[in-house]
Symmetry: C3
Subunit: 208 residues, 3 copies
């Protein structure tokens, strides 16, 4: 095997970047489905494929952790990051499945807005994860995390407004049950983004 | 700067005490709103202000962690405590918002009882957090945590009884959906208190 | 006190085995109740007794951690394992209580299938926990964890199918609310099993 100037440990950052890239794919796909109201069999299938690819990345990271002696961050932290990023993808996928199952296939402004929030939050998380390569410059990383927190707050408000409108306008309980759940799980996706931001913040705090 | 007998690290305990003080304000406000059934715009606004103050305290702790080399407890633990205490305040606030949004503005005995449980649990958490200053005397700290667990169990039973009564007496599905959610999130507030108690217990276990 | 070849620390594994044994009792009881549709006062009482026994085991482990200087795994990890296993039992118990409270006392095929999944997942967790005694052979432990992940996926699909059928067939909103919740909390039990599997995986990763 050849000589390399690159320390081996960069592979963990590469693996994490691959995983956040996949998360970006999931968020972009969701935004597009929400825009067109296409939560049908085809849309759900496309999302499921992204989710399964995400599982592969998470397992690769676990395997790499098992085979590597020195890691650039605490191994528990890499493990937690990989699994919680995977969890966001899982949740975007299960929200998509749920909308298909409930046959909610008309575009709805609130879901379009959630789609935009998801994509923004995920893009900030990606930048924060990439930033971990240069943990000696924590300010920028923390700024991305703060932006994720802000987007999560915006999601809270969006959900509150959506649910309030729902109870004001929808009189059929079964329709109300379906949409209420969709708005709630959408907000949970942003909670999960915030949770990953907190893991990143705690890594930065520990190393500082 | 003058000479001080006090080690600098006591500031973390001071910051945590400020934060738990704010948590006590939130719990006391909730009990009062529940007593009067005043989950209106004004009540929600007062609670939101307490919640925003809580955010400030949590950020102060994170900042202090970033600027401090030696901490009296593991930095991850201080970080986890600060964020999970903040999470309880967030949840009390979002329950208040939800009740306003659902226009549930009559005093209800179950919510009054939840209000009392919240305040008791929070007061015990505060004492446990203060107790961390003297971690060499773990027994008292653990006793406060056990009391929080007991109150969480009482909350479970209160919720079960409230939901059972709801299904027996309320025939309008939309009213039922609203109250069922409120009873459930109220119980989650106590779950979150128990979660903070577990973090405190795990800190004590680790240091013992 | 006599001389012993056995290192004292094996007691933690013994305590964890007792606790997982109790978890197996809870899962077996649930499967049986689901088979007969016997979520009545008597069934709920039997489950509550198992849950209370579980609390005792969890507290014994915490106490032992407080009294022991050298532990075979990181004390935080033993603590987390003990509490999260306890959490699964709590959740099986609260699902049982909920079904009794909703008076859902006819055998339903989906709940029978959930009962089988719970028992399979729990049995794999038990083997994984026992495997921690020989952490130098991580492959087998990880295989049990992977099987738990697979069962959690099966639970997701079962829930989706059950909820879809529910919305297709049940027109009474209150009946629908009850069953929807039961299917959802049943899936959460498998999520919690997967969560314990992740803790075990992270212990293995850390020690490897």
């Amino acid at each position: 095997m050849g000589f390399s100037f690159l320390p081996k440990e960069t592979k963990f950052f590469d693996l994490l970047d691959q995983q956040t890239c996949n998360l970006q794919k999931a968020a972009a796909k969701f935004r597009q489905l929400a825009k067109d109201g296409k939560f049908d069999e085809e849309g759900a299938k496309a999302m499921r494929e992204i989710e399964q690819e995400g599982d592969t990345f998470a397992h690769e990271i676990t395997d790499a952790l098992n085979r590597t002696f020195i890691t650039p961050l605490d191994r528990e932290d890499i493990f937690a990051l990989a699994h919680e990023i995977d969890d966001i993808v899982d949740y975007i996928n299960s929200t998509t499945t749920r909308m298909k199952l409930y046959k909610l296939t008309t575009p709805v402004p609130e879901m379009q807005q959630f789609g935009v929030l998801f994509e923004d939050a995920v893009n900030n998380l990606c930048k924060a994860v990439t930033g971990l390569r240069e943990i000696s410059r924590p300010r920028r990383i923390l700024d991305y995390c703060i932006e994720v927190n802000r987007l999560e707050n915006a999601g809270d408000q969006l959900k509150d407004a959506a649910v309030e409108k729902l109870f004001d306008q929808v009189k059929d309980p079964i329709t109300l049950i379906k949409w209420k759940e969709i708005f709630e799980v959408s907000e949970v996706i942003l909670d999960k983004c915030e949770h990953v931001a907190k893991i990143i913040e705690s890594i930065v705090v520990k190393q500082s």
